[in-house]
């Protein structure tokens, strides 16, 4: 919220404090200042001038030539303003003056006649028409007051105002008002807070003879008070009132509306003025709306109401949406004779829900939803009536109609300075605590403290501690290190494994990426998932930013393809990327989805299937994950049917690896081959063995033998490996595929496969015969099992 320092100064003397110091100190005592500005900061060398004569311009019909007394001299100014006259006081931008928006004024000639400056309109001074009574829609400002020529216009128009913008936290509804801020300022700067209790007795009549109030729902409306003003004279507001509203960024409308707006900023209490003559039976009924009921609000829009909403009605129809906005049907007009001032307290949550449902957040609803003090009602409505009298805007009728069902405020909090000090880790004097709380209008009752009614946020010792601490100064609280039982701390096995995987992938040349957890449901089409695929069963966001971020992902493949494509489009020739992130699998509507962490790897450039497979194998090796099995997978729709493998470990599904299906690549606009793997982190974790044991270096020599066979080209080499391993058992130290050949000299439909075997025994040197026997057995078994023949 915004307020001028002048406004705050009405309640606490801060005249001698500059805006920076004021802002800094307020921020450090808990009323955060977002910023401050001076309204007239850009205005320079503009003064009040008195027009001594007005004569026609010799060469222009629409211009006049004026002689103007600007204090120390008389100058000539040519103007086109239609509203100037002899004797008028006007703002004059002198030669070499500055106006808002970087405008500079210098003397010059207008149609041949010298003009030593310019008369200013409200717009040229950065003001609204409503900010000053003398402002004119299509002319210059004519001052209403008798001001000496030469006076700085910033003084004359109250433009030399420092406007402070405060951030008001939801717990401090009381600070959503100038009084609340002034109260904080008084304690911050140790100065008296000057608030006069408003007193308006009114005439000898009784308000209750004019109108009656009935509150049906006392939960949503704990208090409803009203006063009556008769012989209302709607008119413009005086300058002091306009100035204060201007500082808060509120436009002046007329005296009565301005008074309600003033109360909103001064007390933080929304008010509404009804034209009593439009209230059927002069009756106010506070009730829930009927389903299907309608009201046209002050902004001219018809609103549909329902029974969750509280309305103010007369005996027949709703006349306002409680705490949100008044109705057009009972609004005050130029000819209003008698008005009813509403000053009420409504349930914050209810106002909030109603305003949200109607899509109508107003200043009033913003105040109500923070939760207002029902005990300020009387002062607020009296203050409004006091202003009516002060402004001569009507005759206040005696008495208040007050339906008060507000629960009693019985808060009493034990005040124990030692406890507060122990909690803060300080040694603050009891006297300081008592003084601070007293200045904040807390009352003491023995060892109990009673917070003021407007401080509903204060409930317990911790709250008192905060009040004391923020004025003691957070920065004066000492800094100590944690004591007590110390724990070892650290990462658990899962977190360590995750770090290990990431570091291993980085060592393998991959860059880690971070992508959004929400995706477009269209991504499933891009990666060619059939309509029935279980991955299409997703957690949906009710209020997404857009369709592209509307569902929680069930696979990382789509995001990986996005990033590969982005990189390709940015002309990065090669990419090796990985991501570790969650997928989200829906359960029942009442339960949280299952979040599973996945490892995605993606590559393109100078790589093929065996690069990404090698990366997975290297990763497995580094993290102690052994026994990966790859099986050709022809039916994963996202992958090339001939270049995809399902990976299992210990019989558990680990994931898929392969070349992205050309159609998928095309869907992404990706113009080359991409390779992607997606592995399940939990499965890795369950199967990895990070414990390492030293194995003795071999004592006996190894023997190397090569074997090349011809077999069916569709037989996976893994089958041949299985045979070799089965025969050699633990004598096989290493098995390396060194050639696969199809073509010349090899029969159609067959391939030649060659392996190199390294054999070693830990018990002795292997004998030639033993090896030969083993090799013969391998050939025999390959023949029997795979139909392979020695090449």
């Amino acid at each position: 919220m915004k307020a001028s320092m002048t406004f705050i100064n009405d309640y606490v003397n801060i005249k001698d404090i500059d805006p920076k110091t004021f802002s800094d100190e307020m921020t450090m005592s808990g009323t955060k200042v977002e910023g401050y500005e001076n309204l007239g900061a850009e205005i320079n060398n503009v003064v009040v001038g008195k027009i001594l004569s007005v004569e026609k311009h010799p060469d222009a019909d629409k211009l006049v030539v004026c002689m103007v007394d600007v204090g120390n001299e008389t100058i000539q100014i040519v103007t086109g303003a239609p509203n100037v006259f002899e004797g008028a006081l006007v703002p004059v931008a002198l030669h070499k003056s500055n106006l808002p928006g970087g405008v500079k004024i210098t003397k010059g000639k207008l149609r041949g006649v010298e003009s030593c400056g310019m008369f200013c309109s409200h717009e040229e001074l950065g003001m609204n028409l409503s900010d000053y009574e003398g402002a004119c829609e299509d002319g210059v400002i004519i001052f209403k007051e008798d001001i000496a020529p030469g006076t700085d216009v910033k003084e004359a128009l109250s433009l030399d105002e420092n406007i402070i913008e405060f951030e008001i936290t939801p717990n401090r509804a009381d600070c959503y008002s100038v009084l609340g801020i002034a109260r904080e300022a008084a304690v911050t700067f140790g100065r008296p807070f000057n608030l006069k209790k408003p007193k308006t007795t009114g005439n000898s009549e009784k308000a209750s003879d004019y109108a009656s109030i009935e509150v049906e729902d006392t939960v949503l409306c704990p208090r409803y008070a009203a006063r009556i003003v008769k012989n209302v004279k709607i008119g413009p507001s005086p300058k002091w009132l306009r100035d204060r509203l201007k500082g808060c960024g509120i436009r002046s409308i007329n005296n009565v509306v301005d008074i309600t707006n003033f109360l909103l900023v001064e007390y933080g209490q929304p008010m509404h003025a009804f034209d009593l003559s439009y209230l059927e039976d002069s009756k106010i009924v506070v009730r829930r709306a009927k389903d299907g009921e309608k009201i046209t609000t002050l902004d001219g829009i018809e609103r549909n109401l329902d029974s969750s909403m509280l309305v103010i009605a007369d005996s027949k129809k709703p006349v306002a949406v409680a705490g949100v906005m008044g109705g057009e049907n009972s609004e005050i007009k130029e000819d209003t004779k008698t008005l009813l001032f509403e000053c009420a307290n409504f349930d914050g949550a209810s106002v909030r829900v109603t305003a949200k449902k109607l899509g109508l957040r107003t200043e009033a609803s913003a105040h109500y939803e923070k939760g207002l003090d029902p005990y300020m009602i009387e002062d607020a409505v009296n203050r409004a009536c006091e202003l009516i009298e002060e402004l001569g805007a009507g005759e206040v009728v005696g008495g208040i109609i007050d339906v008060n069902n507000a629960p009693a405020d019985n808060r009493k909090i034990t005040f124990n300075p030692a406890e507060i000090n122990a909690f803060l880790g300080c040694e603050i004097d009891k006297e300081f605590m008592v003084k601070t709380l007293t200045d904040l209008e807390f009352k003491f009752d023995g060892d109990k403290v009673i917070p003021p009614t407007y401080r509903a946020d204060v409930e317990a010792m911790a709250d008192l501690a905060e009040e004391v601490a923020r004025f003691y100064g957070y920065n004066n609280i000492p800094t100590t290190l944690l004591r007590g039982e110390s724990k070892p701390g650290g990462r658990n096995a899962k977190q360590l494994a995750k770090a290990k995987i990431k570091n291993a992938l980085v060592a393998l040349g991959m860059y880690e990426i971070n992508t959004y957890s929400f995706i477009s449901p269209k991504m499933f089409d891009l990666i060619r998932l059939p309509e029935t695929d279980e991955k299409r069963n997703v957690v949906k966001i009710l209020n997404p930013l857009g369709e592209e971020n509307s569902v929680m992902r069930t696979t990382l493949i789509g995001s990986m393809m996005d990033i590969l494509t982005n990189n390709k489009n940015h002309r990065n020739a090669d990419a090796k990327l990985f991501e570790m992130g969650n997928i989200y699998i829906p359960t029942t509507p009442d339960e949280l989805p299952i979040e599973k962490e996945k490892v995605a790897i993606g590559m393109y450039g100078n790589v093929d299937f065996y690069d990404i497979k090698g990366a997975v194998d290297d990763l497995a090796d580094v993290i102690g994950l052994s026994g990966l099995r790859y099986e050709a997978a022809v039916d994963n729709p996202s992958f090339h049917p001939g270049r995809c493998a399902k990976i299992t470990v210990g019989g558990e599904m680990l994931g898929f690896i392969g070349e992205i299906h050309p159609e998928v690549a095309k869907n992404y606009g990706f113009t080359e081959r991409a390779y992607v793997a997606e592995l399940d982190f939990e499965t890795i974790l369950a199967n990895m063995n990070s414990e390492k044991t030293y194995k003795e270096m071999p004592k006996f020599p190894a023997v190397t033998r090569d074997i090349a066979v011809i077999m069916d080209e569709k037989t996976p080499v893994a089958d041949m490996e299985d045979v070799i391993k089965g025969v050699c058992k633990n004598l096989l130290e290493e098995l390396t595929l060194f050639d696969v050949y199809k073509g010349n000299q090899i029969e159609e439909g067959k391939k030649s496969v060659a392996y190199s075997l390294t054999l070693r025994s830990s018990e002795g040197t292997l004998a030639d015969e033993q090896i030969t026997a083993m090799m013969d057995k391998i050939v025999k078994m390959l023949g029997e099992k795979l139909g392979a023949t020695l090449r």
Binding site: G425, Y474, N475, E512
Partner: protein
């Protein structure tokens, strides 16, 4: 015979020293000289063959002289050999000169994402202070994300966090603070944890906003934990992260789940507090929110506020990363362009 030996010594010395070590046949010439003087049919040998005709008195004398000559020649040859070897070695090294300014052969190591790099650093600081790392769901119950944190339904405090809803009771967590509740429900004090993770807010994407970002929550619960401890712990953290001369300040603020609450600012490292573009003229940059755990929150989790107290804090990872690396647009962190990723 003495004269003959002296002559051999002289001519051999001359011949060996005359060999030009730069010439290609230097090695051959030296070998030839060795054969000529010391070989089986060499000059020295043939002189010694005539020893038989000497008097017994003279034999040892001549024998001694001839040994001296042999040793002299051997030494001369050895020295020459070394010279040749040295010369050869020098020549080889000369031939092997390479251009050391040519580029090295690089290992193609990748990099961790900048968010991970800084997160790991922050985790390590707190691990050093005895903290454990807690993790929890990103799709979270409204209860944990709001209600248990003292933010009831229809409370205006919900306005400060625009929430993605899955249904009335399930949200994408808007903060890592629900981890405070989950940890306290499961673990008896003393508690020292940090909980990093993804959080979600319905903010449109721009240079400083992302609907998804990372927070790091901290929670300490024990007997006698004070606000001074909170200040001390966070000051230590700031000094570890930003350097020993980092200056922080605590400013009163409001969070529904802490009381007293504070925002913590760090003195602008760019201008030293004078005010500049980076700190928007304020001299201070907000880095985290913190406070003493609200007694209501403790009670909700079954922790007796009369016995235990604690503090909590939360910081935004992206902002720290962006300031650390001078990144001016948050979107870069999620675009994952290699030209960006390779810089960290």
């Amino acid at each position: 015979m003495k004269e003959m030996l002296a002559k051999i010594r002289e001519t051999a010395a001359l011949e060996i020293s005359a060999i030009n070590i730069d010439s290609e046949e230097a090695k051959t010439l030296l070998e030839d000289a060795r054969v000529k003087y010391l070989g089986k049919k060499g000059e020295l040998t043939s002189v010694l063959r005539g020893m038989g005709g000497l008097s017994p008195e003279m034999r040892p004398v001549i024998g001694q002289v001839s040994n001296e000559v042999r040793e002299f020649i051997e030494k001369a040859i050895e020295e020459k050999k070394n010279l040749i070897a040295e010369r050869e070695s020098a020549l080889r090294l000369e031939k092997e000169v390479i251009d050391v300014t040519m580029p090295g052969k690089r290992n193609t190591s990748g990099r961790l994402h900048p968010l991970t790099q800084v997160l790991t650093e922050i985790e390590d600081i707190f691990i050093g202070l005895g903290f454990e790392i807690a993790e929890g769901p990103e799709v979270e119950l409204d209860y944990y994300n709001f209600e248990a944190l003292n933010i009831p339904k229809n409370h205006p405090a919900r306005d400060t966090q625009d929430t993605f809803y899955i249904n009335d009771n399930i949200v994408l967590r808007t903060q890592t603070s629900p981890m405070q509740i989950r940890v306290m429900e499961k673990t008896a004090p003393p508690i020292r944890i940090i909980a990093p993770g993804r959080v979600y807010r319905s903010d449109a994407v721009d240079a400083t906003h992302s609907p998804l970002f990372h927070q790091i929550e901290g929670l300490v619960i024990d007997k006698g934990v004070t606000m001074a401890d909170l200040k001390g712990s966070l000051e230590l953290f700031a000094k570890k992260l930003y350097g020993e001369d980092a200056v922080i300040r605590f400013r009163p603020h409001h969070f529904p789940f802490t009381e007293p609450s504070a925002e913590v600012d760090i003195c602008c490292f760019s201008c030293g507090g004078k005010g500049c573009r980076l700190c928007k003229g304020e001299g201070w940059i907000e880095i985290l929110g913190a406070g003493m755990v609200h007694p209501k929150v403790l009670e909700t989790c079954g922790v007796d506020p009369k016995e235990y107290s604690g503090f909590a804090f939360g910081l935004g990872l992206e902002r720290i990363v962006m300031r650390r690396f001078d990144i001016n647009d948050m979107r870069l962190l999620y675009e994952n362009d290699l030209r960006f990723l390779k810089q960290f």
